[in-house]
């Protein structure tokens, strides 16, 4: 199976014979389909329904990606090996997500909690809901100084559901950020 297919001899795609010649209109039709999907993916979220947004925005994104891959990148006539290789790389990323989500994506878990993330979320809401009030008098001027910067460590280790104060710190907390 190791025929010395010479790459310079005009384009021989992987199927070995000259690529099936599609007329230009074939590609333009696919392009038009992609545009329609784009419009849908923009219109969908405007209706405000959470599930609909997810389906239209991300579902269509996956469909568009597959269309571009299959028709524009000619993966539909490419050797199967390429599909499997790209899929394997994608699976590696999914594997990374599965192993990491339990720690990075949650506020608390078995015997641990992230008090700073709770504080950060509250501060963020305040900083940005405050942002909404600004909406009135100025085109969403956002005071970047009010960025949520919650020094951690010496915070009261309270969680959203009730907390206890513990004062009296023997050590001055090191300034956590670049002096901001």
């Amino acid at each position: 199976m190791s025929q010395a297919a010479d790459a310079h001899h005009g384009h021989l795609n992987s199927a070995g014979e000259h690529g099936p010649h599609h007329p230009v209109s074939y590609y333009v039709k696919i392009w038009a389909l992609l545009l329609v999907l784009l419009v849908i993916s923009i219109a969908g979220p405007m209706l405000g329904n959470k599930v609909l947004t997810l389906v239209t925005a991300f579902g269509i994104a996956v469909v568009k990606a597959l269309i571009v891959a299959a028709f524009f990148m000619h993966l539909n006539i490419e050797k199967k090996f390429v599909w499997y290789m790209l899929l394997a790389m994608l699976l590696a990323v999914v594997m990374f997500f599965l192993g990491t989500a339990a720690d990075v994506m949650k506020y608390d878990g078995s015997h641990w909690t992230k008090p700073t993330s709770y504080l950060y979320t509250e501060e963020f809401k305040k900083a940005f809901s405050g942002g909404e009030e600004h909406e009135g008098h100025d085109a969403d001027e956002f005071d970047s100084k009010a960025l949520p910067n919650v020094p951690y460590g010496e915070t009261e280790s309270h969680k959203a559901q009730g907390s206890h104060k513990s004062e009296g710190h023997g050590l001055p907390a090191a300034e956590p950020r670049h002096g901001t």
Partner: protein, 242 residues
């Protein structure tokens, strides 16, 4: 297994040592078996003693059955190790004993441990808490639940004698527990690189008897410690520990 190198001083130290012992036995067996076979082959099949080599593809069952059987045995050993390791892990990290005598809060700073003792009233978060740097005073045979935090970078709260280790992650509050079983003072090193002073960041844990602890409480708070006689004071109000 490690008792002869570093004495066990906490309730679950023996269990962790057993896990190490089992791995040492199983792993050690396979290590010496493989090394012996290797050295035996090297000695037996030296060119001077066997000028002609055999031609073995290794796919025929007659030869690779040696590999497959030893292979299945290794898998069996792995399963045994897994069971013991998972049990020790669950006991130490995934569960806290029902009866917790006192709770302490540990905050790792760049290059010192800050221990917040509950003070005479036995409850954390009350004004009489005693906040001490690099010295943790506990009573022997009492169960302590700790809340571990870090104020700046990653540190790792480690008491080798207890076989206890838990990283202090900034932004997180991690719970754990220990029950000292041997009185004495032991090292509390930081075992996660935390900058220049990582090497000098060493606290001490003082595992005291009841009266020694009471004497310390008095010296620390300056008042007579009203610690209940049998030391089983009302359970500290844990703040929503899960």
């Amino acid at each position: 297994m490690l008792n002869w190198i570093i004495l066990e001083a906490s309730s679950y130290a023996a269990q962790i040592d057993n896990v190490i012992l089992i791995i040492a036995l199983l792993g050690g067996f396979w290590l010496f078996a493989a090394e012996f076979v290797l050295f035996y082959f090297v000695a037996k099949y030296r060119r001077s003693r066997s000028p002609k080599a055999l031609h073995i593809t290794g796919y025929d069952h007659e030869h690779n059955k040696w590999i497959h059987w030893s292979h299945y045995a290794v898998i069996a050993c792995d399963i045994v190790i897994l069971v013991f390791a998972a049990r020790a892990w669950y006991h130490v990290k995934q569960s806290v004993p029902e009866h917790v005598d006192e709770e302490i809060r540990i905050v790792g700073h760049q290059w010192a441990w800050e221990f917040v003792h509950p003070g005479p009233d036995g409850k954390l978060g009350t004004p009489d808490d005693i906040d001490v740097v690099d010295e943790l005073h506990v009573v022997v045979n009492k169960t302590y639940k700790f809340h571990l935090e870090s104020a700046d970078v990653l540190h790792s709260f480690s008491i080798p004698r207890f076989r206890l280790k838990q990283d202090a992650v900034p932004g997180r509050e991690i719970d754990g527990w220990f029950t000292p079983t041997v009185a004495g003072t032991f090292d509390v090193p930081c075992s996660q690189m935390c900058g220049l002073g990582h090497g000098i960041m060493g606290g001490r844990i003082f595992v005291e008897t009841e009266d020694e602890h009471r004497k310390w409480l008095e010296s620390a708070t300056g008042k007579t410690a009203a610690i209940p006689a049998n030391g089983t004071g009302k359970l500290a109000s844990t703040q929503g520990g899960n």
